[in-house]
Symmetry: C2
Subunit: 235 residues, 2 copies
């Protein structure tokens, strides 16, 4: 990571998360940060705008740079790539692999992934267990052309860590569709809830930085245990 503004943003994010500014609830001024990191003002402003987007701070013209309140509960964060591991860091997380194989896209999957029917895909179904209780079911399809190899060991840990660090994929953007349904019988059993109970659903279409779709997934969450937090900035 040779990029200055990203390094500064990561450094500040780390400091915020470890409570460095909790007393004053305020970050140093832009001028102080310029001196501290020995970079130009625009570079500081670019680093800070990353923290704003991630929901850590807000800027007030003429006044300063303030910490946003920490969210007390454990929420799922839509914007993070690392998924549950980072969001629910205080909890114990286990993963059961229910299924992992290569298959060929049918009409429906081909439409979701914008590829020809018959395209080879990795199919992965996992049960996520948080604090010893079933939390969610995650069903993912990856284009094999882009993710040429996957095994149970990788799928038991963070798939995205593997995609980014080992396969060196550049992940660009995603569409997430959030909805709510009655849970089907087999999912109800896995999640230890009654059939016809509600379930929170996230369908996720993920693209590389160059715009190519490489994953489509559907996650089914236990309706009492999962809440999603989204921090929005206007302006």
């Amino acid at each position: 990571m040779a990029v200055k503004y990203k390094e500064i943003a990561e450094r500040l994010e780390h400091d915020i998360r470890s409570g460095t500014f909790n007393q004053v609830k305020k970050l140093p001024t832009e001028e102080e940060l310029m001196k501290q990191f020995n970079v130009s003002r625009n570079t500081i402003r670019k680093a800070v705008s990353q923290l704003v987007h991630r929901g850590y701070v807000y800027q007030v013209q003429g006044s300063g740079l303030f910490l946003r309140e920490e969210s007390s509960a454990d929420y799922i964060n839509l914007g993070s790539l690392r998924g549950l591991t980072q969001d629910l860091s205080a909890k114990s997380i286990e993963t059961n692999i229910m299924d992992l194989c290569v298959l060929e896209a049918d009409e429906g999957l081909a439409a979701q992934l914008r590829c020809a029917p018959g395209t080879k895909l990795y199919y992965l179904k996992r049960l996520r267990i948080v604090d010893k209780e079933p939390f969610s079911i995650e069903i993912s399809y990856f284009k094999k052309e882009i993710v040429p190899y996957l095994n149970e060991e990788i799928a038991s840990n963070s798939v995205y860590e593997y995609l980014i660090e080992d396969l060196q994929l550049h992940i660009g953007f995603a569409d997430k569709v959030i909805s709510c349904e009655k849970v089907d019988a087999s999912s109800a059993e896995l999640l230890h809830i009654e059939p016809d109970n509600p379930a929170l659903i996230i369908e996720n279409t993920v693209c590389l930085a160059n715009g190519t779709i490489f994953e489509w997934s559907k996650s089914i969450f236990h309706f009492r245990k999962a809440k999603i937090l989204n921090r929005i900035n206007f302006k």
Copy 2:
């Protein structure tokens, strides 16, 4: 709006929405935009980054600026201030005011709004009807100190348009918590669904640009009709 990059972003957003670039699926290069709007490169880049953030386009280094696919269905957009009116623009939207009054914050509301119990609040409950069918129930509390006046006429249209254009409030950021519950009996009746059916819930804490909380709201959506779309950018 004397700010150049915002004007350029709005102009480009309008052009994108009206299909100007649909043939090529690409925007002009930064250099062309610089000439077209007669501004510096950084100003163009700032305008473009707003479009990226709103999910309209993605940038590919060395290649260009591309349109993201339009989402086919009618989704609720978490990032917009205007709410349903803009998101579901193709549909007919009606609003029934169920309740509108001033009350004093109890312990629970005081905690949500970070104010003293007894603080005066506007309470507003509305039923939103889309294409002649009940779509959602919205319950809002506004600090009267910040929103000193509200009436049925304003509440029948866009409250946020009134807050921004008439009261000149500067809205800064919001925390949105999305979850899923079994619907209660009275809400079920309003939404024309069976009791115990699922409901999609958004709880919303909204702050002014200076960080003051001024609204807390809870929206209960018809689980078959409401889907939320969130477009995420990494990097």
